[in-house]
């Protein structure tokens, strides 16, 4: 975990104009990042406070959490959706500017055992963290600084995975090409049927022949995760979900980002998560 001023290498609008991919030069963070971990970013421009007692850091006041989407040598990427003011301001930051970043934070995904049948399920922007996971599971063919899973063969497709991507419309389906390049099997569903199967991604999952040897990794909206947790439960499948909560510290200090869990009552998304075993959660 570090706090650094990271240079923006790229902040590129994706096809659908509400999604952006931001590349940060952050070598020390890149070296230790794991899939499922996140960055805590101050989206305001870095600069000296102004006179007059009002500091430019005040709006928005808090940092914003974003999953690590990709790590490539010294660069760390995030993939984000413009949602409110913070992400809007972030989308206006330009190449060459600096952002104050803390990371990597949180506990990531537990990597699958050998031979597991891996199913990734992404809702919308949920692809962000799952792509980094997929890279670890099935490293891309050209060795480009990606660290392959320990003891794993570098050849493409050695570890097979399926990814289900769901969204409202075709333009909400991100990263298909990227997952394809990793050799994954890709299934898409959209609510309006404009791409792939019409319906929810959880319906798509239900059509699957799920076995106890399967493992599910899911990231997306709460209702989706809840549904997936039910499916996993009924099939006795090990399932990990990445959750979101509003955060202040991001490092486990403030106890603000808790979710309800079965044993300890509350767990912190930032420190104990954001990835949880779906069984722990009180949905």
């Amino acid at each position: 975990m570090l706090q650094i001023k990271a240079e923006i290498i790229e902040n590129r609008e994706l096809l659908s104009a509400i999604y952006y991919r931001l590349s940060l030069k952050a070598e020390k963070i890149a070296r230790v990042s794991k899939p499922g971990q996140f960055l805590h970013i101050k989206v305001n421009p870095v600069g000296p406070p102004v006179s007059h007692g009002v500091n430019q850091e005040i709006f928005p006041l808090l940092r914003r959490p974003f999953s690590i989407h990709r790590v490539k040598r010294q660069n760390v990427d995030i993939l984000y959706r413009v949602r409110g003011k913070g992400t809007e301001i972030l989308s206006q930051r330009k190449k060459g500017q600096y952002l104050d970043v803390i990371g990597p934070l949180g506990k990531g995904y537990k990597l699958p055992d050998k031979g597991a049948k891996i199913i990734l399920v992404a809702g919308g922007i949920g692809v962000a963290s799952l792509y980094f996971l997929a890279e670890k599971i099935a490293p891309p063919p050209i060795s480009g600084g990606f660290t392959p899973l320990e003891g794993e063969d570098r050849r493409r497709g050695v570890t097979h995975f399926t990814i289900l991507i769901g969204g409202k419309k075709a333009e909400n389906i991100l990263c298909r090409d990227e997952f394809e390049r990793l050799g994954g099997e890709i299934k898409v569903s959209t609510e309006d049927g404009s791409l792939g199967r019409k319906g929810l991604v959880t319906d798509l999952l239900s059509t699957f022949n799920l076995k106890p040897s399967s493992v599910i990794y899911a990231c997306g909206p709460m209702e989706m995760l809840k549904k997936i947790a039910e499916i996993a439960r009924s099939h006795r499948i090990f399932c990990q979900v990445s959750l979101e909560e509003h955060m202040a510290c991001g490092v486990g200090a403030c106890r603000g980002c808790v979710i309800r869990v079965k044993r300890e009552r509350y767990k912190r998304v930032c420190k104990d998560g954001p990835v949880f075993n779906s069984e722990e959660i009180i949905w």
Binding site: M1, L2, Q3, K42, P49, G53, V54, N55, E57, I58, F59, P60, L61, L62, R63, D100, I102, E245, H246, M247, A248, C249, G250, V251, G252, A253, C254, R255, G256, C257, V258, I259, R260, E264, R265, Y266, K271
Partner: protein, 305 residues
């Protein structure tokens, strides 16, 4: 180049390397910020408020960002005094920085029990978070002069440790509470805690916080907190740790000039864990530029006509 003195004494026995204090609840048990904050460089730290029994805290959501502010309803989630002493305090004692333990109880008996337990520990002081209700009278202690006096007095009798009292801003006249605490034997005053506040999600018609009402902190409250520090400075002669919306060195200077002997960072830690260092460096530069050389000379130096 003349040396700049940032050293500050709070009462007889607490000596800070510099006037920057990390406030209760925003620095957890210290460990969480292990990689980001060098505790040895900070003036003092105040732990998350500890209670007798572990507390799970309030229903989520617990955090809402407001205009230049943070609204929280953590609900004093903490591990309880037993685990705190066993698992958390040892880490903090490794540093050369004074550790002040914040405590709260439901009723004065709990406060006294906590104090008796802490008396055996090597800590720099005890901070009474009196923003909890008196369960018997269903009234927040810090909102009542008599309650404050009684509690502080009772605790004072039981401990020789430096005693800090953390005041609530949700009062008509904070100087009256400050004076009660002083009369009852407090060594240091800490102000302010958060402002009672709320937010509503107009889409759902529900409160934004699980706990409905929470505490507002951050830059939004700074002008009010500053006024309170200034008033308390004039009303008592106790050392003051001033807090409320301090993010930058400039903010810290305002509090010191208003009368704070040390400044507390709460929300600032979340916004920028490195703020403490920027403030320390900024203070040095300011003092040098103004040829003041000793931060203590700045305390309460406001020019009033």
């Amino acid at each position: 180049m003349k040396k700049i003195n940032l050293k500050v004494k709070l009462g007889q026995r607490i000596i800070l390397k510099n006037p920057v204090v990390l406030e209760s609840g925003c620095f957890g048990y210290g460990e969480e910020y292990r990689d980001l904050i060098d505790i040895n460089r900070v003036g003092a730290i105040v732990t998350k408020t500890i209670t007798l029994k572990p507390r799970a805290g309030n229903l989520p959501p617990r955090l809402v960002e407001t205009a230049a502010g943070l609204l929280n309803s953590i609900g004093l989630a903490n591990v309880g005094i037993e685990l705190f002493l066993k698992e958390k305090l040892p880490y903090l004692k490794k540093f050369s920085t004074p550790v002040i333990v914040s405590i709260a109880g439901e009723g004065s008996e709990e406060y006294l029990k906590l104090v008796q337990i802490l008396n055996k520990e090597k800590i720099a002081g005890i901070e009474l978070n009196i923003s909890c209700p008196n369960i018997k009278k269903n009234l927040v202690i810090a909102q009542d002069e008599v309650e404050t006096f009684n509690l502080v007095k009772a605790v004072r009798k039981k401990t020789e440790l430096p005693l800090l009292v953390k005041l609530s801003p949700n009062v008509t006249d904070i100087t009256r509470i400050a004076k009660s605490a002083e009369k009852a034997g407090a060594d240091i005053l800490s102000l302010v805690n958060t402002f009672s506040a709320m937010g509503i999600d107009s889409e759902t018609g529900s409160p934004r916080l699980g706990g409905v009402v929470g505490g507002l902190s951050g830059p939004a409250i700074k002008p009010i907190a500053l006024r309170m520090v200034w008033q308390v400075r004039k009303a008592t002669s106790l050392p003051i740790i001033g807090a409320g919306g301090i993010l930058s060195c400039n903010d810290a200077l305002e509090f010191i000039i208003a009368g704070a002997n040390a400044v507390g960072l709460g929300t600032a830690i979340f916004v920028n864990p490195h703020a403490y260092q920027e403030i320390i460096t900024g203070l040095k530069k300011y003092l040098f530029r103004k040829a003041i050389y000793d931060v203590n000379e700045l305390v309460g130096s406001l020019h009033e006509n």
